[in-house]
Amino acid sequence: MYTEKVMDHFSNPRNVGDIKDADGVGEVGNAKCGDIMRIYLKVDNNDVITDVKFKTFGCGAAIATSSMVTEMVKGKKLDEALEISNQAVAEALGGLPPAKMHCSNLAADALHEAIKDYITKKGK
């Protein structure tokens, strides 16, 4: 039911973990739904994302999309990162089963929350 790419990101997730002195942290979902995704960002003075980590509680799709989104944004500028949608993450994984498009495909939302958190902290 999952594509090879989803299974690859699920079994070897990229950038798992946390960043102690993160510049921005974003979290979406709740345990009741069965999915929580948290993204940590390090951002340099030029608004470039230099490091990104995630922690996720959830199904295969939740873990794979979290991993995928971290890979997609590393080295990107914040305004580019803000353009990444949940849909784009799913497409980068070769698609998700229809049932997973709703609840488990929130990784880009978590990323956007982390960026918002960074902007708020910076007072920009």
């Binding site: 299974m7 699920f10 079994s11 997730p13 798992v16 946390d18 942290v25 974003g26 979290e27 979406v28 979902g29 709740n30 345990a31 009741k32 739904c33 069965g34 999915d35 929580i36 995704m37 948290r38 922690k55 996720t56 509680f57 959830g58 199904c59 295969g60 939740a62 873990i63 049932a99 997973k100 709703h102 609840c103 488990s104 929130l106 939302d109 929350e113 958190d117």
Partner: protein
């Protein structure tokens, strides 16, 4: 990679000898059991011999066994058939909150047709309380339908007590025994069961065959109309190969019952005890003692069931979960929620269902790989350890359901 099957509550492999006889009745002995010629008589004889074997498995007489296509049809026939045939007597049915959907959705359907349904709650072990049952009965109650053993958590209901009470009150008692039949001893006479649903593929017969036991004298009407098959109750050409398979599987199950129950229970108890003592933050779901011999059900806190299943699958192990992702909806198992588990805990459930083909080596391998999988998923989880101190900043942004 060696594959290990721990999902016998979903389905079982067909016994090799059963498969051989099924094939024989598809190819050489293919007759229609209703035909008058020798081909038909040969099929008819096989059907009636199977009926005897199925009856013997549950302590019934052969004329009380009606072949069906499986558990769902059996539940539909039992509940709708009794409801419509006894409508003049009353319109109230009592069932439980943890029944299979074949029972629950049949009851939903009857509610739309003027019946009233009481859904009994269950305790933390998934057991109904007899007082609740007694309090629920009205003078309009015509049927009590309570499952023999639960498919997810394995809890065995107080069937004998329910049967005795139903008999005393003159109410029909149906039990969905799809998980229990062939895997656990059943005596319909001793337990005063009026109707009992069974399904072949849960005990080493093929899919698409089952039987409904209906005690002689029970008022029931057919819900599928056509020819005069199964004594006018269940129209449709008999699935002779399936019936032959069900009969042989029943005979084997009866002969092997004690051995299998003893051996499988030992494997179950080993898993329960090792997991309980070696993996922190776990909860055994279901009754500690009164459970199906092959059923193990744990919730592992801070992780989600589907990702656990996928990880086990990568190690060659096939199991199941009550998480939303595997229930086909956005909610986790209705059984676990009815037992009082929170959504979070229900999402992290794992069901292992053992069969007689499982070995102690397989159990040991599972016990070896499980802790590292749990550790890995928990290490990734924002709910676990140090990172759990951060509180969710915002609720689920897309979830309209909860």
């Amino acid at each position: 990679m060696k594959r290990i099957y721990f999902d016998h509550s979903a389905t079982t492999p067909v016994d090799k000898n059963v498969a051989t006889s099924v094939l024989e009745y598809m190819t050489d002995k293919f007759g229609n059991a209703s035909s008058i010629h020798s081909f038909g008589r040969e099929a008819r004889r096989a059907v009636e011999e199977s009926r005897e074997k199925v009856a013997a498995l549950i302590g019934a007489t052969p004329n009380e066994i009606f072949f069906t296509s499986g558990g769902t049809e059996g539940d539909n026939l039992a509940i709708k058939g009794v409801a419509f045939a006894n409508r003049k007597k009353g319109n109230h049915i009592i069932t439980s909150a943890i029944e299979h959907h074949a029972v629950l959705h049949t009851c939903d359907y009857l509610e739309k047709h003027g019946f009233q349904i009481t859904y009994l709650p269950v305790d933390e072990y998934g057991m109904i309380r007899l007082e609740d049952l007694k309090n629920a009965v009205t003078d309009k109650t015509i049927l009590i339908s309570i499952m023999f053993a639960n498919n997810e958590v394995g809890t065995i209901q107080p069937v004998k007590e329910i049967g005795a009470f139903a008999k005393e009150r003159g109410i029909y008692f149906h039990t969905d025994a799809v998980q229990a039949a062939g895997n656990y001893p059943i005596d319909v006479k001793a337990d005063n069961i009026d109707l009992l649903t069974m399904s072949g593929h849960k005990f080493y017969a093929p899919k698409g065959i089952g039987a409904l036991y209906i005690r002689r004298g029970v008022r029931i009407e057919s819900i599928q109309h056509g020819g005069a098959h199964e004594r006018n109750l269940r129209a449709g050409t008999e699935n002779v190969p399936g019936i032959v398979g069900l009969g042989l599987a029943s005979e084997i199950a009866k002969n092997e019952m004690n051995n299998r129950v003893e051996r499988i229970s030992k494997l179950r108890d080993k898993i329960i005890s090792e997991v309980s003592s070696n993996i922190p933050h776990t909860k055994l779901n279901g009754h500690p003692k009164l459970r199906l011999p092959g059923n193990v059900n744990f919730s592992f806190l801070y992780l989600e069931g589907e990702s656990l299943l996928l990880n086990l699958d990568m190690k060659g192990i096939g199991a199941s979960s009550g998480s939303a992702c595997t229930s086909g909806s956005l909610d986790p198992s209705h059984v676990l929620l009815a037992m009082g588990l929170t959504h979070e805990v229900a999402h992290g459930s794992l069901r292992i269902s053992l069969g007689h083909d499982n070995t102690e080596e397989e159990v040991d391998y599972f016990l070896e790989v499980l802790p590292e999988i749990i550790d890995r998923l928990r290490a990734m989880s924002p709910l676990y350890g140090e990172s759990a101190e951060l509180k969710p900043a915002n609720p689920c942004s897309n979830c309209h359901v909860h």
